[in-house]
């Protein structure tokens, strides 16, 4: 029984390593203002990956931030896209925000999201 538990834990760890996607706040000042609460992803009917980042502005002030997303194929190669350039997103005071993005091609398997002030 114990062996099964160990095998399961190793499988989960390995599975976790396979997903190279992440959401990263690249500016420390931002961490005091917003927090990322959830990241969802799904494969749409047309085979395109869709990502939704849910966060919260925890302050009493409206703030305008920037984000960019890089997309990678199964071999880890970057797939160029217009969404890889910095784009603004609003975070209203004491409110949730979400960023929705759809992958530029069907070949995308992973993504990296960077949030910046």
């Amino acid at each position: 029984m114990k062996i099964f538990g160990i095998i399961l834990a190793i499988s989960l760890l390995m599975g976790g390593c396979a997903d190279k996607s992440f959401v990263k706040v690249v500016d420390n000042e931002m961490s005091d203002v917003i927090e990322v609460t959830d990241v969802k992803k799904r494969i749409r009917d047309d085979g395109f990956l869709e990502v939704q980042i849910l966060g919260k502005n925890t302050t009493d002030e409206y703030a305008l931030f920037r984000y960019r997303i890089t997309w990678q194929d199964k071999d880890g190669f970057d797939i160029p896209s217009i969404t890889s350039k910095w784009q603004n997103f609003p975070a209203h005071k004491n409110a949730e925000f979400h960023i929705n993005a759809i992958a530029p091609t069907m070949q995308v398997t992973d993504y990296k999201v960077y949030l910046n002030k």
């Binding site: 047309d46 395109f48 869709e50 160029p80 896209s81 217009i82 969404t83 350039k85 910095w86 784009q87 603004n88 929705n100 993005a101 759809i102 530029p104 091609t105 069907m106």
Partner: protein
């Protein structure tokens, strides 16, 4: 005499330094441009409008062909209804690249605003004895478009008083299904700027 030479040298050095500063050109880091906004439209505005349009189109079923394959997209009129001398290709090219790379459409250059005259010229080589006839293009090879992208960029200037103005830019796009004429996707991005009346937005 020594004093005169020294003064002249100082003037010469100062002039050289000043002229060096005046001619200094800075290259924009387009990957992380936090520079001041301009009253007119700049590349950041076109990037924003193109990103919003392509993300919305990719999310929409309008460009997903049932049963697989790609739609043929023609670029129709994209009007510049602003006071600026802009080429609407600054917007359209970004959209074309993103849609082509998505694998969902082919953009035709045989008809429409993106027309490449070589499509016709290459066909005129038929019956020209100077060309090997088995290398000319056969008849009936061009494909008619399924979809058409049209739209306009609109500008409104509103005087706010106190020497200030509000400039609004509207990027309006429509995707039409050419089989039935239905607009199957529509998108709009609005960009607003406030600036002094002295700022030129044309």
């Amino acid at each position: 005499m020594k004093k005169i030479v020294k003064t002249l040298s100082l003037i010469a050095i100062s002039t050289l330094l000043l002229s060096g500063c005046a001619d200094k050109v800075q290259r924009i880091d387009m990957n992380n441009d936090t520079g001041d906004q301009v009253a007119g439209l700049d590349y950041r505005d076109f990037n924003q409008a193109a990103t919003e349009a392509t993300q919305s189109m990719l999310r929409s079923p309008a460009i997903t062909k049932q049963g697989g394959g790609r739609y043929i997209l023609a670029i129709s009129d994209i009007k510049n209804d602003t006071m600026q001398h802009i080429d609407t290709d600054q917007l359209v090219k970004k959209i074309r690249i993103e849609l082509l790379n998505s694998g969902k459409v082919f953009v035709t250059t045989a008809v429409g605003g993106a027309e490449d005259k070589m499509n016709k010229q290459a066909r005129e080589l038929r019956d020209n004895d100077e060309f090997k006839q088995n290398t000319t293009i056969k008849k009936g090879m061009l494909q008619a478009p399924d979809l058409s992208l049209s739209g306009k960029i609109l500008q409104r200037n509103i005087n706010m008083g106190d020497g200030k103005q509000q400039i609004e830019y509207y990027f309006m796009l429509t995707l039409t299904d050419l089989v039935n004429g239905f607009a199957t996707w529509e998108g709009e991005t609005v960009i607003g700027k406030r600036a002094s009346n002295k700022s030129v937005s044309w």
